[in-house]
Structures are given as structure tokens and as C-alpha cells.
Point group: C2
Chain length 296, copies 2
Amino acid sequence: MRIIRAPERMQQEIAAHRKKGSSVGLVPTMGALHDGHLSLVNKAVKENDIAVVSIFVNPAQFGPREDYLRYPRPFKRDAEFCRKAGVDIIFAPEPESMYSKNYLTYIKVEKISDMLCGKFRPGHFRGVATVVAKLFNLCMPDKAYFGMKDYQQLKIIEQMTRDLNFPVKIVPCPIVRETSGLAMSSRNSYLDAKQKLYGARIREALQQASYMIKCNKSKNTGKTIANIEKTLLGIPGAKIDYVAVRSARTLSPLNEINERAVILAAVWVGKTRLIDNIIIDTNPKRQYRISKKTAN
Amino acid sequence: MRIIRAPERMQQEIAAHRKKGSSVGLVPTMGALHDGHLSLVNKAVKENDIAVVSIFVNPAQFGPREDYLRYPRPFKRDAEFCRKAGVDIIFAPEPESMYSKNYLTYIKVEKISDMLCGKFRPGHFRGVATVVAKLFNLCMPDKAYFGMKDYQQLKIIEQMTRDLNFPVKIVPCPIVRETSGLAMSSRNSYLDAKQKLYGARIREALQQASYMIKCNKSKNTGKTIANIEKTLLGIPGAKIDYVAVRSARTLSPLNEINERAVILAAVWVGKTRLIDNIIIDTNPKRQYRISKKTAN
């Protein structure tokens, strides 16, 4: 396994692999790798000749009051994690080599970047889209792997890739959870044992809502959201940023759940912001296919 | 020579060429090709295994009151022009295949997109940056050729390419002029014979200013601009959008011309907006090199 720091070297290295006809898979991460990442990495290793994991805490996607500085950076552990998983290249650039002093270019995916998490984290998805485009140009992957926990991010990356004609296949990967149900996240390291149990209740609330809809008790969005919020407000110290029911394809709001939908939630537990989501498939046939391939 | 309409086919075709190790040169155009384009095309044909000319009147870079609909589209003549020049592929997509109904993604190069022409054509350079990124992803060139008449555009594309790490070398090409001195442009076809002579006076005004600076009569920006404006206002029916003296490297304003500079002008002659520029090199050694390689 090679560890590459300089963007130009990364580009040269991959260009050489591509010239030989090797296929390339990229897993873009901010490090602090966990079993959620591992499921992406395993897929990338299995499906490609060369598996690249980028580890880069991207300053452009953090707001001025967010946790850029305290975000965990356990690089040695991450490198060992990748080596064991059979990764070929870790790309771990320095912030200054990715954003020069004279950096000026940003990519914005309109509409779907401003809603949901975008409303609470202005500029966040602009930073995400920009760095992913940079990583695509530097690592030139055939396939890039993204977790479904960050569902809005996944949709934005899919849209950007399609709109800008990047020759990259986006592979969505199902959420991986703790035994408690808590969706795995690098930010879970901010939580103490009690808070982790509180966090798991977000999943419970979403799952409860999903059952209600599937049992045809209610397909009404307003009622669904109210029920979830009621459960979430029972969590000690919780603060809800949003609970929303959206089209799973376009993220546009739904009044009635009569197409493939996603319920998304962002909730503060203490000083940690957690997100989670659940896909609601009203078509039982498709539901089966989805649950086998990309269940969360 | 092949003419390709579908973006996906273009991408597949070039991927196949690249796999064989062929180098690719791209000349992005809006068609209505003239001898200015020809100088770019000749270079692309000479320097690459595969020369691609894209012909696409990009709706995203036109304002609502601009000339998108009446912009000339002499496709047959353009195709013949390319065939004679030894072009391998014309990429001429339909607007609907480049911008789907659900298109949402735009690239903005901050600061240098909002000044000069950007001030008079809001959104123009966002449209330019976006379509060029799309063309880079679809045509995957090693080199892309841009005329220096659109100097601000060139600087924006250079900045975007560097910032987003596109693996593309940008090749600037000198302005080509009519015998009269008028910079060649597809929009010159809007001018009648008299207006063409008026247009040539823009070049005269810039050249006059350049002589004044080089003879050390004045390195003061304010005086230089005032002199040029005086000459331009002598053109019947002319309306000045701007005359500006900027750093040739960064486009930032200069009070004194004591580094490599560019004087830029945008002037309406009747209902046609013309732009032109001249590079001022205060270092005589570099001046020589520049005048041989990229003189305008």
C-alpha cells in the first residue's frame, strides 16, 4: 500500500495505472474510519484493480463555528485499517496543497444543496461538491463509493456527476449500524456511553414511522413527522434541526407518501449533531430488491 | 472526420482513443468559425494525435437579453472548415443533451468572474466555466486551446483548471486580426462595412496607449484609460462598457503599470458589443519572448 500526499503525484500515479488498463475505485473519506467506511472499502477492493481511499478533512465543507479543528484525525490507525482491508493507495493531501492561497473555484448544485442539512450548514454542500470534483480529477476513478447515511450528500454527488459529465459511476452503500441501531459515524466518538444510547433512539423513531406507513396506518407526511418529533423530543438534551419526508429520487417535499420516499432527521444529542434516514418503499416488489441491495 | 452529437458517444469514443495511448487536443468553440479559430485548430491538429473541435452555442453563458437566438450557426460551413484543417472529430451536441430539464450544477470562479465583462454580463462566466468543465469531462483532452481575445475568459479557465485539478494543459493563442486591425470574432458578422472600420479603431486606441507606455510617456493607469476613452468616444455611435488596466496574471487593478499588464476594452459599435485587449510588458527581455510566442 502506498501513501501519497502530493496531488500531482496522485494524478500521475493513477494516470500510469489507467494507461495499463487498470480499473480504479475511490472511497472519499475524512478519515477516522469505522465499519461504515469498511463496507465501502471492501466493495472498492473487490470491484476494482486499484482501490484508493482518500483521507482529507476538507476545510471547505466546515462552517466557521463547526468542528473542523477538533474533527478526529487518527491517521496511523486509519492507515493500518486500510492496509488490512487491501487498499492499494491512500491519498492524504495537506489542506494547503488542495486549496492554495489564491483558490477561487466552487461548484454549487442548486436547490438540493440549500434544503435540509444545507439550511443549517450554509456552504457545506458547496464545499463537498467542490472537493469531490477535485478528488475525481486527481484520482480518476471508474467508480466512487458513498455511504447512504449522508443521503442528501449522495444525491448531490449523483446530480453533480451527471450534470458535469464526470466519467464516474457513483455506488451508494447501505448504512452500517452499531448493535444499538445507531448509524456509524466518525462523530460518534464525541458521544459518551449514555449519549450513544440516546442517539440510537433516532433510528427507533424512524423505524417506528416506517412500520406505521407500511402497515398503512398513515401515509400522511405531517402526521409522520409529528410522530417522529414526539419520540425525538423524549430524548434527554436532544434538539431537532429537522425531520423531513422527501422523494427518495429528487429530495422534493411530499404531502403523501405515494412514491419511493426517504425520511431524514438531524438531531443534536448534547453538542454532537447526528443524522440518520430510512428509505420507505411503497412498491412491495421494489422494496424487496432495495432491501436486498441497499437496505438501511 | 466524425461528427458526434451525443455526449455519451463522445465520451466513449475518446475513452477508446485514450486507451490506445492517443493524445487529445480540444478547441472549444461556439461555431461560426473564422481565422482566429483556425489558428487554434491548426495548433491542436499539429500537437495531438486526435484533434477535437466542439461546436456548441452554450445557452448557459447568454443573458436573457443577449443574442443567443440570433447567434450565427453556419454548421455546414464550419464542418467543411474543420475537415479542411484536418480535424478528427467535431463534437456538436444539442442543448437538451447538455442541459437536461433537471440540470442544477454550476461552477463559479469567484472574484475574477464578477469584474470587467462579468459586471456587464452577470452569470456569463459561470456559464462559460460550467460548459468548459463539461467539455473537459466529455472530451478528456490533454490540451485545450483558448484565444487571447477573450482574455478574462482565458484567465477564468486557467484558474478553474488549476483549482479543480483538471488534468488538462491550457494553451493560450494570440489574437488574430483583420487587415484593418479589428480582432476576429464571430460577432463581427453583425457589423456592416462602416462599423467594421469603426471597430478597428478600438485596436488603434489600445496600440496608441501601448506606445505611450513603452516610450515612458506615462505609466499612470488613470491617464492611460482617459486617453483611450477619448479616442473611443470619437467613434460614431460607440458606447463604452469599460476600459481597464489590470495585472496580466491576476486581473487585479493596477495604479501604475509596473508589472506585466493587460489593457482591456469592451465597446458597443451600434448594436454589437466588441472586446479587445493588449498585453503591456514592461520588462524588455520578457517582452521579446512574449511578442514572439503570444503577441497580440
